[in-house]
Structure formats: C-alpha cells, structure tokens
C-alpha cells in the first residue's frame, strides 16, 4: 500500500509539473500583452515599458518559469495583474463559492441519479423505466446553461424564491450563501444526474443477470433484498468511475454556469483572467484545477478498493 501511495504521489507531482509547463508555454505563445490591456489604446511606449518592468514581464521566460514554480513550492502564488491582490487570497475566496457549488451539485446528482437508475433497472421495460429513461435522455440532451436560464426565469423572476444571480456570501449565515447556489447547482446537477442514472441502470441490469443473483434469489431472498444487497453494491464500480469523470466535467461546467449566474467562483475567475491576460492567475488556477482532478481520480481509485473486497485482498496493482 505504501509503495502504491508513493508511486501515486510521484506521478501526481510529475503530472502537475507537466501541466504547469504546458500552460506556461501556451500563455507565452498566445498573443496579447497584459500591460497593453491594462493601459489601453492611448498608452505611450514608455508607459508600457514602465508597467512591463513593474509586472516583471521584462524578464525572460526562462527565468520567469522557475521563479513561478519555486514560488508555488514556497506557497507564494504571486500577485494578480488586474486585481492587484495576492492570487492565493483571490483563489481562497473563489474556492468558497466553487467548492460548495460542485459538492452540492455532486450530492444532488448522486442522490437523484442512483435511486432513479436502480428503480429503472428493477422495473426494466415497464412504464416506470421507460418514463425515467425518457426524462434522463432529455436531461442528457439539455445544455446546462440553458437549463440555468430556465431555472432563473421560473424560480427567480416568476416565483421570486431565489436570487437570479450573484452570491450572497457566507458571512450572513449558511442559508444566505446557500440560496445563491441552489439554482446553479441544480443546473449543473440535472444533466449530470441524467447521465449517471443511465449508467447506474445499465450497471445494475448487468449484475441482475449474473449467476450469483440467481443463486441469491434461489436461496429465498426477496427481489428487493437481492437487488439492494447484491446487485447494487456490485454495480457501484462503473458508477464511481463515472462520478470521478463527472467531477472534471463539473469543474468545466462551473465556468459556464458561474457566468450564467454571475457567481464569483473559480470558473469565472479563470474566464476573466484569460480574457484579461492575467497570466499568473491563469497559471495558478490551471495547476490547481489539474491538481484537484488528479486528487479526485486518486480518491476514486481508493474508493474502488473500498467497494471491491477482491482488490483489498490482493492489494492494488
């Protein structure tokens, strides 16, 4: 187990370094000068040069890359060109929006999808199954930003139950922050839940056809007991795989959804930072996001071990 962990950690560090090098390179090649964006069309060349110097952009890339990496290792994320504030603080503020949003969406999509998927599998080809899968098919087809707009129109504009956009902040209490996240989390979760429900259904269906299930039924277990005790646990591996993949999609989805709902989260930050050529913010965020995807995949691997006793005994590869 220890060797497995050490190997994983090394792979994680190397992947992160590769991601860092790649994004740094891409931003170097990408046309656009942050100083020109800040100073606009009437800037004089000498003013631009002064700002380049102040931002540290007059140093060669070969020096800026290691400086950035060593800064990261020391926990120094640098300072944003546009916000004039430490990037670490900016990211910390935004994580307080994006992480609850992603977790809420993930929780919503799993609590919706797994029961629906199992239910549909248990009543295969009956009206409940057909209906559930038709709704799921619709859910897969609906883009989350459009769903977001519909939710705004219904719950914010028509019913005025929840705010249409923006983030209340956590300082006013949990509900104050949470109410701004409900609609975006729903918009993110529903399409994901649709996919997850379909995957759950087919995974459960597959286990329902296994010999051990027939055995379970033969020895006198009720259909329900056999389903929940034997079919569902064995169907969880593909479900976890999809969940892990969905986390990356959720991160990507927040970029769009946070723009639709004007939430000050990581997604909006990275979007603004790219448009504003706030290079250091983009670099830091890409490394952070790549890191979190790697960590989640790692967690999924661990989860495999937990749900599958066979992997536990032989030890992971």
């Amino acid at each position: 187990m220890l060797r497995f962990l050490a190997g994983r950690l090394l792979a994680l560090a190397l992947t992160l370094l590769a991601a860092a090098a790649l994004i740094f390179l891409v931003l170097e090649v990408l046309p656009g000068d942050p100083a020109a964006l800040i100073l606009g069309v009437n800037a004089r060349p000498d003013t631009l040069a002064t700002l380049h110097h102040q931002l540290g952009l007059d140093r060669p890339a070969a020096l800026r890359f290691p400086l950035w990496i060593f800064g990261l290792l020391r926990g120094d994320f640098g300072e944003s060109y546009t916000y004039h504030a430490p990037v670490a603080g900016l990211i910390a503020d935004r994580v307080m929006v994006s992480l609850p949003l992603a977790l809420l969406a993930l929780a919503l999509s799993t609590t919706l999808a797994i029961p629906v998927g199992v239910f549909a599998a248990a009543r295969r080809r009956r009206i409940g199954d057909t209906l559930a899968m038709a709704v799921a098919q619709l859910g897969v087809a609906v883009p989350n930003f459009w769903l977001g707009l519909l939710l705004i129109l219904l719950f914010a504009v028509k019913l005025a139950w929840l705010p249409a956009s923006g983030f209340g902040g956590w300082s006013g209490g949990i509900w104050h922050g949470l109410r701004s996240l409900i609609l975006p989390a729903l918009a993110l979760a529903l399409p994901q839940a649709a996919i997850l429900a379909r995957v759950t259904r087919s995974a459960v269906l597959e286990t329902l056809g296994e010999d051990y299930l027939r055995t379970a039924l033969a020895k006198g277990l009720s259909r329900n007991a056999a389903l929940w005790r034997h079919a569902v646990p064995n169907a969880l591996i593909p479900v976890f795989t999809i969940l892990g993949l969905q986390f990356s999609f959720l991160l990507a989805g927040t970029i769009i959804i946070e723009n639709v709902f004007t939430l000050p989260g990581l997604g909006r930050l990275i979007f603004q930072a790219i448009a504003g050529r706030d290079l250091i913010v983009v670099q830091d965020l890409v490394v952070l996001l790549a890191g979190s995807v790697i960590v989640v995949n790692f967690a999924v691997d661990i989860a495999y071990v937990l749900v599958d006793p066979r992997l536990r005994q032989s030890g992971p590869r």
Binding site: P31, L37, I38, T50, T82, L90, A164, G166, T262
Partner: protein, 498 residues
C-alpha cells in the same frame, strides 16, 4: 395544552413581526441602490488603467478632479471652484475649494494638485493617458488654495482633459493603495470589494459639496446579458447605466416597472481600414466601401435601430458637431463603379478582424454580407481583446476591423504619426495644430468643423454610428445621466422618488 402553546407562540411571533414592520416603516424611504455593470473593473484606480469600467465605478463618486465633465459633456468646476486663463493661453490659475478632505481625513490643497499631476507625468508613471499631462511645464502654489498650472504651449483641450478620470486628485499617503482601496474626495467612500461580484460604497458624511441622496451604493457585475435581464426583472438590480442587450429593451419597457432611456455614448463605431495597405490607400476604394454599407440596416440589425448614424469621427454630444451622415449614402451601384475604376476585381478577398463586443461580432457579419453584394469576399476573423490589441492595434497587421472608439473628442488620433489605421494627411494635421494653438472659442469651433469635414472627405475609415447608451432603471429612480460624454455612472444626484 401543547397545541395552545404553539398557537400562542405563533401569535406572538406574528405580533412581533407586525411591530417590527411598523417600526421599520419610517426608515423604508429607500436610500440604497444596486447598479448593474457588464464588466468588473480591473482595479479601482482611474489613474492606473484605461478600462472604462474603472471610471464607471469611481468617476465623480469616489474620485474628483479639478474640473469635471457633466452629463451634457460640458467642462464644469470640480475641486476647482473657478479658474482664469492667461491671455497667451499658457497659465491656468485654479481657485480651489477649501474645506475639502479625502475619505481618510487628509486635507485637499494645492500640494495635492502638485502631487497628482506630477505623479501622472513622472517618468515611472503608468497613467494610461500620460499624453494629457505632457503639455504641463510647471505647477506652482502661491497659496494653499490656489494652483497655477503653466503649459509649454496653449492647449485648447487642457481643461477637458483635466476632467477625465485619469486626472483625478489623489493623496500621497493613499495613492499607492487606490487600486484595491480607493480614497478620494468624492461624495461616496469605498467600503468593500467582493472581487468577481460587487463593489460597495457609502455616503461620505464630510463631503464638501451637496450631500448625495443615496446612503449606500452597490455596483454589481453581471457579464451575461440574459442574466442581466433576469436580475433586473427579479429586482436584484435596480438600474443599468448601460444595458448590454438592446433586443431585450422592448420587454423591459413593456414591464412598466422600468424607465428605459436611450442616450448616446462617445463610442464612434467605425469600419477601420488599413490605409497603409493596398488597396485601402486608394481613396476610391475607401469611398466605395462607404457607399456599399447600408448603415441604417446595420444599426437595425445589430442595435435594434438604436444608434445615431455618423459621417465623421465625431458625435452629436461634442462641441461644434456637424451632421455629415449623408456624405456617402447607401449606393451599391456607385460602390461597384468606384471599385471597378480602382481596378478591384470582383471576388477580391479581404479579412475583417472582429474584437469580442456584440457590436463587432454581429456587425461584422452584416458588413460582410453587404460587401459581398458589391463583389468583395470578406473573411471574418474573430479575436480576443488581447489578440486585437496586439495584432491590429499594435502591429497594424490587418485589412479591415470593426471597432468603437470610446474616447471623447479624440480627433487627435488622426494627427498621429503612428496609429493603427495609418492615416496621413498634412491638411488634417495642420488643421489640428491650428486648433491646439487657438485661444478663441469661435475659432476652435470653426476648426473642429473643418476637421470633421476633412475626415468625411478623405474617409480614412468608414464612419458608421455612435453606440447608444441604453439606460434602464427602476421607474421610481431619477437623476441618472442620459448620455455618456465620458464613461461614468455619476450617482451624486440619483435618488428614489415616490
């Protein structure tokens, strides 16, 4: 028993609630405003960045200059109560208001004027409009409430320039922090910036001028037009100084809760042509393009018909405006004839660079279709701002681009040596120089009109229309600017009515 207690407790809450509502009623006279904006400002210091959004938050709310530009585009007294100009047009003597303090208590006096202007023109200055301060030779303080600014040469545009956001007064002890925590002399003091979401400010109790009606103001940043409309309809946002989507305005107007007020900005939207590149160096080609574009249809298609058509690089807001919109009326036959005369074969291929704003992305498609009609093949090249600034603006590597020049009264760009569209006209330059040297208002107006005509004749770019200011606010609010002679959301006069 349990039941009765619940009922009693419920009743108690109801009564308490009613009492609270009654007590709160007198305070319900609304004095808080939430104003929507599309873009979040990159920093809050108008002396350290060109973004219009910085001014739209801070101008005349947090920061003030010696002069200010009012909603009609006039130069009016700001922190300077009055001024006199020496007969040679070089020395400006400003009488400063006394009793003015910054939000941190620092006193405003002539030393502040010296500091602010010297900081802006210093070698290490990062002022986006450093050019404005270039004419200044010296700033003297005969007494704390008099500032004498001496220029190297007369400059007719000086007082207007000193009313820009780039020329506001900042104090030595707070200037460095203004990017994140702005401290000025304005009617509102900065209180909070939740980055990515909103900027908050509150009435400054020691303001030297008339106290603003609003006690609290929140600037909320909503990038998506559909989200902006939803936020207005849901009541999360009370007003938009400039609403991002003209096509939603009829719906907002029909709602009845909102006042929809169409004004004008300084955004001269043009089809810029690279005058240094063949065949745009040929005046016949440039005029042909002007004849080929149906500006009315363009404004209809991209701006729901809102936007004043122009024929030169000048807007109806500006002094001495003359209407030249009819110089090149829509006439595709004439356009074809001119193109043939200039030897442009049918099917000739050009590129049209389009920055991100909808006026360019949508407008580019309409223009491409109109140019196809006269036999030109136009390839649309969408660009990010950073890319546009680099390739089109800095390196001048383009055929055509669609862009709105939002700086007020910027005829000067046609007199520059190196500017991205590469217009060179000795006639125009001499007019501009004479204008700068002029000290008599009548001569100034005459020269401004001559310059407009010169540009309409040469048609270095195809002048299209002025971007409208689409004001939308709760119908009970009043006191907003109708036009945007400079980028600003001056809230000093805004109040809730009955």
């Amino acid at each position: 028993m349990g039941d009765a207690r619940t009922r009693w407790s419920a009743r108690r809450w109801l009564i308490a609630g009613l009492l609270a509502t009654l007590c709160a009623t007198p305070a319900l006279a609304r004095d808080a405003l939430t104003l929507g904006m599309v873009l979040e400002p990159p920093g809050l210091d108008p002396t350290a960045g060109a973004a219009a959004a910085i001014r739209e938050v801070t101008y005349d709310n947090i920061f003030e200059g010696l002069t200010r530009i009012d909603g009609a585009g006039h130069v009016v007294p700001g922190l300077a109560a009055s001024w006199t100009i020496s007969p040679d047009g070089k020395a400006y003597t400003f009488a400063l208001h006394s009793g003015v303090i910054f939000h941190d208590g620092t006193e405003f006096n002539c030393a502040i004027v010296q500091f602010s202007y010297n900081r802006a023109r210093a070698p290490d200055s990062t002022n986006a409009q450093k050019e404005l301060f270039e004419p200044i030779a010296d700033i003297a303080c005969p007494d704390p409430h008099t500032a004498v600014v001496t220029l190297k040469r007369p400059d007719a545009a000086f007082l207007f320039g000193m009313g820009w956001g780039d020329a506001v007064m900042v104090a030595p002890n707070s200037a460095a922090g203004n990017q994140t925590h702005p401290i000025g002399t304005g009617p509102f003091r900065f209180t909070n910036w939740v980055k990515g979401d909103r900027v908050e400010m509150a009435r400054f109790d020691h303001y030297w001028g008339a106290a603003p009606k609003l006690a609290r103001v929140t600037f909320k940043f909503v990038a998506d037009p559909a989200a902006a409309a939803a936020a207005l309809l849901a009541g999360d946002i009370d007003a938009f100084g400039n609403f991002p989507a003209p096509e939603i305005l009829p719906q907002l107007r029909a709602d009845g809760r909102f006042a929809v007020v169409i004004g004008s900005t300084e955004g001269k939207t043009i089809l810029a042509l690279n005058n240094a590149r063949k065949p745009f160096d040929d005046i016949r080609v440039r005029r042909a393009l002007a004849y080929a574009i149906d500006r009315k249809a363009l404004v209809q298609a991209t701006m729901s018909g809102l936007g004043t058509i122009i024929g030169s690089h000048y807007t109806p807001n500006d002094p001495g405006f003359i209407d030249l919109a009819g110089t090149y009326p829509y006439d595709p036959t004439r356009a074809k004839a001119l193109l043939a005369e200039a030897g442009i074969a049918s099917g000739t291929h050009f590129t049209l660079a389009l920055p991100p704003p909808p006026y360019a992305r949508r407008g580019g498609e309409v223009i491409a279709a109109m140019l196809e009609e006269v036999g030109l093949h136009v390839e649309l090249v969408p660009m990010e701002w950073a890319e546009w600034l680099d390739q089109v603006f800095k390196r001048s590597d383009f055929d055509m681009t669609m862009i709105s020049h939002t700086e007020a009264r910027d005829l000067a760009i046609y007199a520059r040596d190196h500017y991205y569209f590469n217009y060179h006209s000795d006639a125009f330059r001499s007019l501009y120089q004479t204008y700068l040297d002029a000290t008599d208002p009548r001569t100034e107006i005459d020269l401004l009109q001559k310059m407009q005509r010169q540009l309409a004749t040469d048609e270095p770019n195809v002048f299209l229309y002025v971007l409208p200011k689409l004001g939308v606010w709760n119908a009970r609010l009043h006191g907003f600017w109708v036009n945007d002679p400079i980028p600003a959301n001056d809230l000093s006069a805004v109040a809730w009515g009955e």
